[in-house]
């Protein structure tokens, strides 16, 4: 029978099917971090059981970590305690631990791929909804809750009903200034935050085929923001070239076996999806969000829609715009910006810093803007320096911080104050996400750069045209 890419990877990992219930799915790689794992380890302890496959589990500290002075003790006692718990649990159960100060430390969804933990056709879970990132490699990757973290530690399996399948096709040439982030925000704006709930998505078409792995990771990362458990892209030469030779990538004979498996990972021509959508890539603009969920986004040149044309009830819509201090019919261009954040598992990779730097080069940070540039890992940080980007950024009045999740969820000190506006390359604009009372506009690194140098929401294309 014809199968989709998703079917092939899923079916390869089903240990057993339960009649009228979920499948028992084997998990190849389990990533853990400090926030969603401590209670899972407590559960193991109270049951008196061990981690079944410590070598399939990898721990990094990222959600809580400071992004300056990482050589000093963590000041917040609660954060410090959580980081200590991850370290002691990892040591006790024989799990690789990449803590603060470790060369491999960084955002879990950035370092996983960098070290080859992420492989095509693998099943990957983590107690973090943006685990969908790893789908960029043709893996089935999704976020889980803490009870499930405990399950995977104990048995390397998870119990999941098989989701429905959706394919999103986008062909055409992306316009100037349109990045993978814009493609993702565009899709979410079309589907809404619940439009793909219950589905696993495959992204197909030349727009995705032409993307780098970094771009594909940005797209798959945001799959959860339309409710999908995950998104995936079939592995191709770009994928194979990325994974080959990385530390945890299979070597020699194991590589040959893995490669043979990777080559089977594509949707059969006559395979059927439960839902299929097609969009025109050339119609996508640089995007920005105006509300309090990632589905409330639009092309940056558009005006905020009126309630009649918005998803959700009028009361919910009014609450959202009221929180943002925006009104129906407002233009986003020229809106005030107090903070700019570049980073996170969505846009904290080298390509994102290249894009940001290309636009701020020769300009200067606006005086009214506080900018936080936070690389996703030490590898990204090193690349920024080696490629000379840091010199350009410094010249333009920007500073680089140290790796971590940072202002994406503001668990550390990187908080946007109440009432202030941030243009953020992260993934969620929920109320208070970047600090209590903070107001977030999600956008690409280019839109963030345009805001950073002009001090207000600006269409990056106007600045790119200046450069040309």
């Amino acid at each position: 029978m014809s199968k989709t890419l998703f079917d092939k990877v899923w079916d390869t990992h089903v240990v057993r099917k339960i009649e009228g219930g979920p499948d028992v799915l084997f998990i190849d790689r389990h990533l853990i971090h400090e926030v969603t794992s401590p209670v899972a380890f407590l559960g193991l302890k109270s049951r008196g059981i061990k981690v079944l496959y410590p070598n399939r589990t990898f721990a990094t500290a990222d959600h809580n970590t400071p992004t300056i002075n990482q050589h000093l003790p963590v000041a917040d006692p609660l954060s410090a305690n959580q980081l200590k718990a991850l370290e002691s649990n990892s040591n006790e159960y024989g799990i690789s631990y990449w803590g603060l100060g470790h060369q491999k430390n960084g955002i879990v969804h950035v370092v996983g791929p960098e070290y080859g933990i992420t492989q095509p056709g693998a099943t990957i879970v983590c107690g973090d909804s943006h685990t969908s990132t790893h789908g960029a490699f043709g893996a089935i990757a999704f976020g889980i809750g803490t009870s499930e973290v405990e399950m995977v530690l104990a048995t390397q399996c998870i119990m999941q009903p098989k989701p429905k399948k959706m394919r999103i096709n986008i062909n055409g040439k992306l316009g100037v200034g349109v990045t993978p982030k814009d493609v993702a925000l565009f899709i979410i704006s079309q589907l809404t935050t619940s439009g793909a709930t219950g589905y696993f998505v495959e992204y197909a078409g030349d727009v995705f085929e032409n993307m780098s792995m970094e771009g594909r990771m940005t797209v798959c990362n945001l799959s959860i923001e339309m409710g999908a458990r995950g998104g995936m892209i079939a592995p191709d030469e770009t994928t194979i070239n990325y994974v080959k030779g990385r530390e945890f990538t299979p070597k020699s004979e194991a590589w040959d076996k893995a490669l043979a498996y990777y080559k089977t990972l594509k949707t059969d021509a006559d395979a059927v999806f439960d839902k299929e959508l097609t969009f025109d890539g050339s119609a996508i603009e640089p995007m920005i969000t105006y509300g309090t969920n990632p589905g409330m986004g639009m092309g940056i040149s558009h005006d905020i829609p009126d309630a009649a044309h918005a998803e959700g009830g009028a009361a919910t819509y009014a609450k959202s715009l009221g929180y943002m201090g925006f009104h129906e019919g407002d233009s986003m261009i020229g809106k005030p910006v107090d903070f700019v954040f570049v980073g996170s598992c969505t846009n904290g990779r080298i390509e994102d810093f290249r894009a940001f730097t290309s636009l701020v080069k020769g300009k200067h940070k606006a005086a009214n803007v506080t900018a936080w540039l936070v690389p996703g890992s030490h590898i990204v940080e090193a690349q920024i320096k080696e490629e000379g980007l840091l010199d350009i950024l410094t010249e333009a009045g920007f500073e680089l911080r140290q790796p971590g999740c940072s202002a994406c969820l503001a668990m550390n000190d990187d908080k946007v104050p109440a009432g202030k506006y941030a243009v953020s390359t992260s993934n969620r604009n929920f109320e208070g996400r970047q600090g209590p009372g903070s107001r977030t506009m999600l956008a690409s690194p280019l839109v963030a750069a345009a805001a950073a140098v002009t001090g207000k929401v600006t269409d990056p294309r106007t600045l790119i045209e200046e450069l040309v």
């Binding site: 240990v15 084997f26 079944l52 399950m151 119990m159 219950g198 409710g227 009361a315 919910t316 929920f430």
Partner: protein, 198 residues
Amino acid sequence: MAYDKFNILKSTAVPLPIENIDTDQIIPARFLKATERVGFGDNLFRDWRYNPDNTPKKDFVLNNPVFSGKILVGGKNFGSGSSREHAAWAIYDYGFRCVVSSFFADIFRGNCLNIGVLPVQVSPEFAEKIFAAIFADPKTEIEVNLPAQTITLLATGEKETFDINSYKKNNMLNGFDDIDYLQSIKPEIEEFAAHLPL
């Protein structure tokens, strides 16, 4: 680890007719720093419930003594966003045992089922009826019957059936969890692992 058994729940309910309630609202990230599962109920809906100076916001439903009960009724797409199980813990710890909505986010729904909070998905029309009934009479009782898979407005007898897979239903009825099951098939898992492509 076994959790509370769920059979038939009869209770008043707390209405929260806002759509797309995300888990950052249910429990903001800054309250995720605990290493034990205690005290999350105090911070349930923290920023909707309290002012920055920690005084209660009078217009929020949890601060209105008229509404109470073990059932929380939320708007469409309840629990979207982050996978934090802390959101389900906060709902449980506050005292809710059932969440009703016309649509749930996937991960949140699964997290609820894994800790013994029953997510009941109803039609948008029935959700409207429930909201109207509660606002008309906050003392109105709702019966959630897991064995029969029904939810009933007891004042009028209006009812609807809801879906739950038979495996999870059995777990909820008996307070079993998935690890109990998975532990019991460990030899099969280890045998399976020996023959994987990666």
